[in-house]
Amino acid sequence: MSEGYIPKTLEEALEIRKSAKVIPIAGGSDLMVQHRREGGVAPGFEEPLLLLNEIEDLKTLRTDGDKIVIGAGVSLNELVNNNHLPYIVRETARQMAAVTTRNIATIGGNICNASPAADTLPFLYATNATLVLQSADKKREIPVEEFITGPGQSCLQSDELLIEVRIPKEHFDVEYYRKVGTRKAMALSKISFAGLAAFSNGKLSDIRIAIGAVAPKVVRDKALEGLLKGLSKEEIKNKIPEIRARYEKLIQPIDDARSTKEYRKTVSLDLIKDFIEERVLKKMSH
């Protein structure tokens, strides 16, 4: 059994992925912790590692027509520091972990780890981002909500790698990210809230709400958002109780070491109301 692989090109990596059972790893900040053993010894991985950090193709940060393309191997700090990225991407990354982790943790790693509390997921859901997955034989592009299949689970095939994230370039009048964490840095999210809105002719033309860490998967309901589109300020205000009641059914948090289900439920519903009233309605012209 090989001890591990450090391929220099994507082709090389995909060939290895096709022919061997390996664990793809980029920065390692999730995987090294998940596989750690007590007592100050090396972690225990059941398969050899496929280290991805040398592959330039995974580190792209570019525009491709009407899409922003972020390579899976781009580190969180690179996202923070890139002023061409939307505010919501930068702000989310800025509040993740701390500088030491952000220097090596990658957006691809965060997505593939698929934690219900993964902080990159809310903005990816809210922006209708797609993911490009590639194997030696084929390439496919799927919406992020199709990729995540459950807590810690994705539909990444054993011969595939996540190559890049593609975010549609759209204008929003409101870009809002709120992380409710255990403290102000180096914190896991109790609630991870992304909200976007756009106005047209005094009406709400688009609204997107995506909430992480409060259910097995990110909560986003396009039908609920649709209820608000095209409405005036007054109409939106009147819809809030109905919206709240319907989100309540979707939000299914748990008790864990960090927080309680009551807190997560109550606060995320309050944050939805707060987003609509304080961020969206206040910014809409009369």
């Binding site: 255990t182 403290r183 102000k184 807190y263």
Partner: protein, 697 residues
């Protein structure tokens, strides 16, 4: 040297620490280490039915209760904690045996394969359940005046109750020791606050004579009380292992087992009752303290005593009853932690006084002022406040600095401000110092002087402080003064590095020794010894808890200003102020560092550090989940001092280290109550607690 001793100098241990050359226990290298890994109980209460060990290769050994030549007990105030579990286990994390071997990797691998069969027994893991079942390690009571009479005649009786949580010390360097044996002696190296405690514990466990045991403290990466008694257990285990294997044994805890199994602060349930007359004046107060001591009593009796003697705070009341008990639960034993029982009761009394102020329709500060102690007052234990008390000056200073009064009446939406007053009794409680009769030795060789004491440098600045005392007293440069390494073969027993006693008590001995040395200064070589004597005015009866619990006190006030988010109930601490009377600062930077560090630990205790458990299993066992403040969490902090030299302290110094932790939680609670419009009865005041309470109210 600076103009006065208070002028800061660069810390004398800083260079090595900054350049990464300071040698902590895990940095020590020896050729033939046996790495040790502890097998621990997975059950809160059970009989051990069977231990299934993997096949051990050559060189790998099991160490358990059968290998203890002496007494299978951790020697401390109450020596009830077995070094290795016997027939039963009483808490999750309790050590059962060690596996040792030459390869760390192999030892860990073997340890992972050990399986235990248990027969589970009923476990009491909740403090209130233990209270209702009267599972008690120890209880005490004392009174002043005639509390029964005033409660019978009260116009009004107000009661309330508060709870405090279970913070963990979270020293950055975990607990660890190395034990070696050679030529009929055992040498222990370790991250240790109290070398002679450890020595005594190893004597107890091995049956060796004291001369055969040597304990050497290595550079210690934080302690805060968490390395006061626990290293005794580790050292005894490692010593026994070293005897059995004939090799040096390295026992360094990883973070998870350190959080899980070592000591933490006693959680508390505090119940208060006050009798008020028809002018809303307090005629009597009844304080009932319950501490959760975990499975073994160990040091709990002393923690409870300090809590009880501190429970009336900075106030004098004519009639008092204080009842306290430590209950027994199937959890890891609670132990010493900066403040040693005081932070819990000071939170309680400040909250209760605020409650009484509200009852009286008076602002909290105006109400509290009426009861401030002054020089000459009788203490709650019938002793006397012998020294000048500057609490009024402290309050004036801090209210000025923080604009407390104006902000209190006009704080703004979702904002609040709170003030707390607190104190700390200096040195050991009661007759502790007399029992220890600590000794210090100074040795002169030419123009150089060495300080020999068992009190250690553990980050708090002891080495620089004591060196400065000698330098100033003898008018020699600091570089000519040596703080001898704490090796029990080389230094006398000055007592443990606890109770904020190092600056005042040990510093006092050092100063007196300097005076003696001055008389011998013309000699090329000289040696002087100084042994502790209580100041003559102090009287104490340990059977009745009457007299002067402490020879003197240090005092403080904190103000906290907060903004709370009404949706998430997250609290943002805008600023913290602290004004302190610690006598005289022996080094301003060192003292400021202690105050700021203590305040930030106090913040953790107040709102950020949550350690919960379910059926005796802790839920936050790593640093991801047990959250201490980061650089981004700390608020702006402003500290100042009121000088109040103490006649019996070196250069007027009193105790400083523990005081600053106690005041933050009550100041924060008052501020949060104003910001969110609700009562805070529990700390840590997490957003979950605040949101749930807000919805109730």
């Amino acid at each position: 040297m600076g103009k006065t001793i208070s002028s800061s100098i660069p810390r004398l241990d800083a260079d090595k620490k900054i350049s990464g050359q300071a040698e902590y226990i895990a940095d020590m290298v020896m050729d033939d280490f046996m790495h040790a890994r502890t097998i621990r109980s997975e059950k809160a209460h059970a009989k051990i039915k069977a231990i299934h060990l993997p096949e051990l290769p050559e060189g790998y050994t099991v160490i358990d209760k059968k290998d203890i030549p002496g007494n299978n007990r951790m020697q401390t105030v109450v020596s009830d904690h077995p070094l290795f579990a016997e027939a039963e286990v009483h808490y999750i994390g309790q050590p059962i045996l060690l596996i040792t071997g030459p390869s760390k990797e192999k030892t860990v691998e073997l340890a992972e394969k050990v399986q235990l069969d248990y027969k589970e027994l009923p476990a009491v893991t909740d403090m209130e359940e233990a209270l209702s079942e009267n599972e008690v390690h120890v209880n005490y009571q004392y009174a002043k005046g005639n509390p029964d009479a005033v409660f019978d005649n009260a116009s009004k009786t107000i009661t309330d109750e508060y709870r405090t949580g279970q913070p963990e010390h979270l020293y950055l360097e975990t607990n660890g020791v190395i034990a070696t044996c050679h030529s009929g002696r055992i040498t222990i190296y370790g991250s240790i606050q109290c070398p002679f405690f450890v020595k005594n514990a190893v004597v107890e466990a091995t049956g060796f004579a004291p001369e055969q045991i040597q304990v050497i403290q290595t550079v210690t990466g934080g302690a805060f009380g968490g390395k006061e008694e626990y290293p005794s257990l580790l050292a005894a285990q490692a010593a026994v292992a070293s005897l059995k294997t004939g090799k040096p044994v390295r026992l360094i805890l990883d973070r998870k087992e350190d959080i899980e199994a070592t000591t933490k602060r006693h959680p508390s349930l505090l119940r208060y009752k006050a009798s008020l007359n028809n002018k809303n004046e307090i005629t009597g107060i009844d304080i009932d303290i319950t501490f959760d001591g975990g499975a073994y009593a160990t040091i709990s009796p002393v923690v409870l005593q300090r809590a009880m003697f501190t429970s009336t705070g900075v106030y004098g009341f004519p009639n008092i009853r204080v009842t306290g008990r430590v209950v027994k639960t199937n959890k890891a034993p609670s132990g010493a932690f900066r403040g040693f029982g005081a932070p819990q009761v000071l939170f309680g009394i400040e909250q209760f006084m605020n409650r009484l102020a509200a009852e009286a329709g008076v602002s909290s500060l105006a109400f509290k002022r009426q009861y401030f102690l002054k020089k000459g007052d009788t203490t709650s234990t019938g002793g006397k406040m012998w020294a000048d008390i500057k609490i009024r000056e402290i309050v004036d200073k801090i209210t000025g600095m923080s604009n407390y009064k104006q902000t209190k009446t006009n704080s703004g939406k979702n904002r609040g401000i709170g003030i707390s007053l607190f104190l700390h009794g200096c040195g050991f409680t009661g007759k502790g110092e007399v029992d220890i009769s600590g000794e210090v030795i100074l040795k002169k060789r030419g123009n150089k002087v060495s300080i020999l004491t068992s009190n250690v440098e553990m980050g708090q600045g002891a080495s620089t402080t004591l060196i400065k005392i000698v330098a100033h007293s003898l008018s020699i440069p600091e570089k000519d003064v040596d703080f001898v390494k704490q090796d029990t073969d080389a230094v006398p027993d000055s007592g443990p590095t606890v109770a904020s006693r190092t600056a005042m008590i040990i510093g006092g001995l050092v100063k007196k020794a300097c005076n003696k040395l001055l008389d011998k200064w013309e000699q090329e070589e000289a040696e002087v010894k100084e042994v502790y004597k209580h100041p003559g005015y102090v009287t104490w009866d340990n059977d009745t808890f009457q007299g002067d619990a402490y020879p003197v006190y240090s005092w403080g006030a904190n103000v906290a200003e907060v903004e709370a988010d009404p949706v998430t109930c997250e609290v943002e601490v805008k600023k913290l102020w602290g004004v302190y009377d610690i006598g005289v600062a022996l080094d301003e930077d060192i003292i400021r560092g202690q105050m700021q560090g203590g305040m930030v630990q106090g913040l953790g205790f107040a709102y950020l550090e949550k350690l919960t458990s379910r059926k005796g299993k802790f839920n936050q066992l790593n640093l991801t989940d047990y959250t201490i403040p980061t650089s981004v969490d700390v608020p702006e902090i402003e500290c100042d001092f009121v000088e109040n030299p103490y006649e019996f302290g070196p250069y007027g110094a009193k105790c400083a280290g523990e005081l600053p932790l106690s005041g933050v939680a009550p100041a924060l609670a008052e501020a949060v109550e104003q910001a969110l419009g609700m009562e805070v009865r529990k700390i840590p005041m997490t957003p979950e607690y605040l949101k749930a309470r807000k919805n109730e109210d």
